[in-house]
């Protein structure tokens, strides 16, 4: 049984972080350089952490599987980043951002973590502006804002439709500066394949150099994972093709608890699937819901008509109808399920019937085509490239797609997992978004963790470990882990003939989407739990990985990742089956109100599910961290 101590400091909510910072242990400046810290991943969370820890004087080793830190998946974030600056004078505050995020998460996150996130949000914007991030500005030269779902204030900062890119390049610049200064040792094309524990503490990793195939052992005083989300367990998603769960999954197999894996986010506005060959789904930013209106025909018979031929009275602007207070800007889980519902009723548009309109006709009348182009031009261009249609002339067709994973490795208030010395940041941890993440808050969390939280909290761990006490990478634990990685790769390369890896990924994705997608029920989840182990068996018996492990071998990389996704998919379904309630992105059909809204069960399920590996072939153990709300009353979310 894992020990899950949240370590949330005592005292009033608004004082906790300040008090904690004042009380935790520090490492003195001269000693910092005696500690080595491994940071795996250089997205927003990893690069901001690596740069900041190096600035403080720690010796940092940064590992990414990409050929450059600048390519991390954070680069793809479009819409924006939240911060409680209240530059609009529209009533925003730290408390309001905290409350919106907690409520958006359907009361399944930790109060104290979310409050800290809202507190440091303001520092993030300062930091990024100082780095030269080209945020959108007003004519007076001050920063501009837009609105995002789940909020009634305008607190989202953005850089055209490329906010993630610009924030990542800011963090990448900071990281590059420290690499140039010799304070960070950068390992690109390097994939972590195992975590090494010595005396129960995380003390290193095993890495494969993706170009030469060399397997390496790296030791450190602490290990940070900032390896992103696991949404590609669904195969088709808005994630980059390379995004994967292997780092957190292999840490899980070493004893780190995986929390709330079933909390997955389905984003309402993505370009619909067009064919079986499809490799990814493209997001149309939530910011479009500021000006676009979502509708389907009222009558089934109209669904294949040209949209322009459907009269205003025959259109159902269903979000505006069902949620008048928030309208098109209601939270993602709600907007996605509403789209599914109208499509299930047979009113979906496009050839497949799995689509709804996102219409800019009103916005074009109001702002002119150029006004709309100025706000969303790049998104309209992407849409045209993919669909060969102009959204200035016909409404976009959109459908929900897998987009983000709220679940992740369990961490305490210090962002340390239940394995001492293993810290987890960004999307890879579970801590701040509960059962549903609000738009523009993942970028905020990644940078909060990296720039402003871990630099303090890691000291608390390191201060109780003597400098120079880290083990040698030749210690038996490292040799054993290396041998394990070699054996796994050999097994993947063993089959002489067979089926390509992608085939299994597609099949896994179909099982997950069908049985554990936007709506879940016990019978269907049980079916998935039968099908996945069969798929796993078939995978090992017939997967074909050509070539050798001694060169660049992209099939081998994918095979390892898909093997992990298959196992993770099973745990995800088990978690979904166990959570007999609906909350946020986790919708159990058995638990809904007559109007189709989520029916949460605070009496029995106000806890974090932290799954613990018990060995191959054994059922994982469910640990529960109770969610104690000291300051906010858990209530039914209402966006009406």
């Amino acid at each position: 049984m894992a020990k899950l101590e949240s370590k949330v400091p005592s005292g009033p909510l608004a004082d906790k972080w300040r008090k904690h910072k004042a009380e935790i242990k520090l490492v003195n400046p001269a000693n910092k350089r005696k500690y080595d810290i491994i940071v795996v991943g250089a997205g927003l969370a990893g690069s901001s952490a690596a740069a900041t820890l190096a600035e403080l004087g720690y010796k940092v080793k940064s590992f990414v599987f990409h050929d450059s830190p600048r390519r991390a998946h954070s680069i793809a974030a479009q819409g924006g980043i939240n911060a409680a600056k209240n530059y609009q004078n529209d009533g925003d505050s730290v408390h309001r951002l905290f409350y919106d995020t907690l409520k958006g998460g359907d009361y399944r996150s930790r109060e104290a973590n979310v409050h800290r996130l809202a507190e440091v949000s303001v520092n993030i914007i300062d930091q990024c502006a100082a780095q030269g991030v080209p945020f959108a500005r007003e004519y007076g030269g001050l920063l501009a804002n837009r609105s995002f779902g789940g909020a009634q204030v305008s607190r989202t900062f953005y850089a055209r439709g490329q906010t993630g890119q610009q924030l990542l390049l800011g963090a990448y610049s900071a990281l590059s500066r420290m690499v140039g200064a010799g304070a960070v040792e950068l390992h690109t094309n390097s994939e972590m394949l195992d975590l090494v524990l010595v005396d129960g503490h995380a003390k290193g990793i095993i890495v494969r150099d993706l170009i030469t195939g060399e397997i390496q052992r790296h030791a450190a005083d602490a290990v940070i994972l900032a390896t992103g989300g696991y949404g590609n367990v669904f195969n088709l998603s808005t994630y980059a093709r390379g995004s994967n769960a292997s780092a957190i999954w292999r840490a899980y197999k070493r004893g780190a608890c995986l929390a709330n894996p079933c909390y997955t986010q389905i984003h309402p506005t993505c370009i619909p699937v067009s064919g079986d060959y499809q490799s990814k789904l493209t997001l149309m930013s939530e910011s479009l819901r500021n000006d676009g209106r979502i509708w389907v025909p009222k009558k089934k018979e109209d669904r294949l008509k040209e949209p322009g031929a459907i009269a205003e009275v025959d259109r159902d602007y269903y979000l505006e109808r069902m949620y008048p207070a928030f309208g098109n800007l209601c939270p993602r889980d709600i907007a996605s399920r509403a789209a599914k519902r109208v499509c299930d009723e047979g009113r979906g548009v496009g050839e497949t019937g799995l689509g709804v309109y996102l219409d800019f006709a009103d916005a074009i009348r109001r702002l002119g085509e150029n006004g709309v182009r100025e706000r969303y031009g790049n998104l309209f261009d992407i849409y045209r490239e993919i669909t060969a249609e102009s959204a200035y002339q016909v409404p976009m067709r959109i459908y929900p797609a897998v987009h983000y994973t709220m679940g992740g490795l369990w961490v305490d208030y210090n962002l340390m997992s239940n394995i001492p010395g293993l810290f987890v940041l960004g999307e890879a941890n579970f801590s701040d978004h509960g059962a549903n993440r609000l738009g523009a808050s993942a970028l905020m969390q990644g940078l909060a963790d990296g720039y402003f939280v871990i630099p303090y909290t890691i000291g608390d761990y390191l201060a109780s470990h003597k400098p120079g006490s880290r083990p040698s990478p030749d210690a038996p634990e490292f040799m054993a882990a290396e041998a394990g990685v070699r054996a796994l790769n050999a097994r993947l390369l063993a089959n002489k003939t067979g089926v390509p890896v992608d085939h299994f990924h597609k099949r896994l994705g179909k099982i997950m989407w069908e049985h554990c997608g936007m709506a879940r029920n016990a019978a269907s989840l049980r079916k998935a739990l039968q099908e996945i182990p069969k798929l796993r068996e078939e995978f090992w018996a017939t997967v074909k990985v050509p070539g050798s492990g001694a060169t660049l071998n992209q099939s081998l990389e994918r095979a390892g990742r898909v093997a992990d996704f298959i196992e993770l998919g099973e745990l995800l379904c088990l978690d979904a089956l166990t959570r007999e309630e609906s909350c946020g992105g986790h919708f159990r059909e058995e638990h809904q109100f007559p109007d189709g809204e989520c029916k949460r069960d605070d009496e029995n399920f106000a806890f974090v599910s932290a799954w613990e590996f018990q060995g191959e072939g054994k059922a994982p153990l469910l640990n529960k961290e109770p969610l104690n709300y000291e300051f906010v009353k858990m209530s039914v979310r209402n966006y009406k």
């Binding site: 050929d67 600048r70 140039g180 490799s279």
Partner: protein, 269 residues
């Protein structure tokens, strides 16, 4: 403008550069690709071809990709002689099969440039760009030390222009398109972005000198004003930024040569 939306399948022949490793000889090999949907992306077509190769027991074609939506800068194929292929303002992953005709022979190579050695097949080593960034592509600001963001207003025109430059995805198409393998557009974009902000002024001279110096030392060539770089850029970054950087570089070199430097740089504690 509802463009070509036909769904008639097409078949093409791929002529692909195959090279087993950095020091190995490479050659073009032909592969048929049949009955493709025009709505398929170019990289999805490569996925299909690779699955066929794998099933036959042959090694699939190695190619770089990740986001598949034109933002990460990983994909990097020269298609029919043009970095990122047909179309303007798109990356390789945003090329769709509807850009080709039934029966076409499509020649696919890696980005060819001396500072980007081939690793395997269509994958090259572009770490030289990271090295240029490490030399000076930043504004020094320690986490926690920044002033309130609105305490430094920036004229909207400057911020917009900075964003135009900052849109660079670091793919290297500019280098591959240039007959001199110049990295001027890449470097100019970063130098211009940071130089347009008040925050970027203290290190402005140092930055341009360090970045240009590193670029030269890594074997990138000179710019001879052909502007193939902007034409191939998936973000259509303007070559005007190169002129802007040249001005910065000249001014910085001049100041560097004549500016008196303080003898004491550190504080005596």
């Amino acid at each position: 403008m509802v463009a070509d939306n036909s769904s008639t399948p097409l078949s093409v022949t791929l002529r692909v550069w195959r090279q087993a490793g950095p020091d190995q000889p490479g050659k073009f090999v032909d592969y048929p690709a049949k009955d493709l949907s025009p709505h398929m992306s170019f990289l999805e077509m490569l996925d299909v071809v690779n699955d066929e190769l794998t099933t036959k027991g042959e090694e699939p074609i190695a190619f770089a990709h990740d986001c598949r939506e034109g933002i990460c800068g990983t994909c990097s194929c020269t298609i029919n002689g043009k970095p990122h292929g047909p179309g303007r303002g798109v990356a390789t992953c945003q090329v769709y099969m509807r850009s080709f005709r039934d029966g076409d022979v499509i020649v696919v190579e890696p980005f060819q440039a001396q500072p980007f050695p081939v690793i395997k097949d269509l994958v090259t080593d572009r770490s030289a760009f990271d090295k240029i960034m490490q030399a000076g592509g930043f504004i020094t600001v320690r986490a926690g030390s920044a002033p309130d963001a609105n305490s430094i207003p920036v004229p909207k025109e400057d911020a917009d222009l900075a964003m135009d430059a900052a849109a660079c995805i670091g793919c290297g198409a500019c280098v591959a398109a240039c007959k001199n393998a110049s990295a001027m557009l890449f470097v100019a974009a970063k130098v211009s972005q940071l130089g347009l902000f008040p925050q970027g002024q203290p290190e402005r001279d140092k930055r341009v000198l360090a970045m240009v110096g590193t670029m030269d030392s890594l074997g990138f060539g000179n710019c001879t004003n052909q502007y193939e770089c902007s034409a191939a850029c998936p973000k259509t970054i303007s070559h005007d930024f190169i002129a802007r950087m040249n001005r910065d570089y000249l001014a910085a070199s001049f100041r560097h040569a004549f500016k008196p430097a303080s003898a004491s740089t550190g504080g005596a504690g």
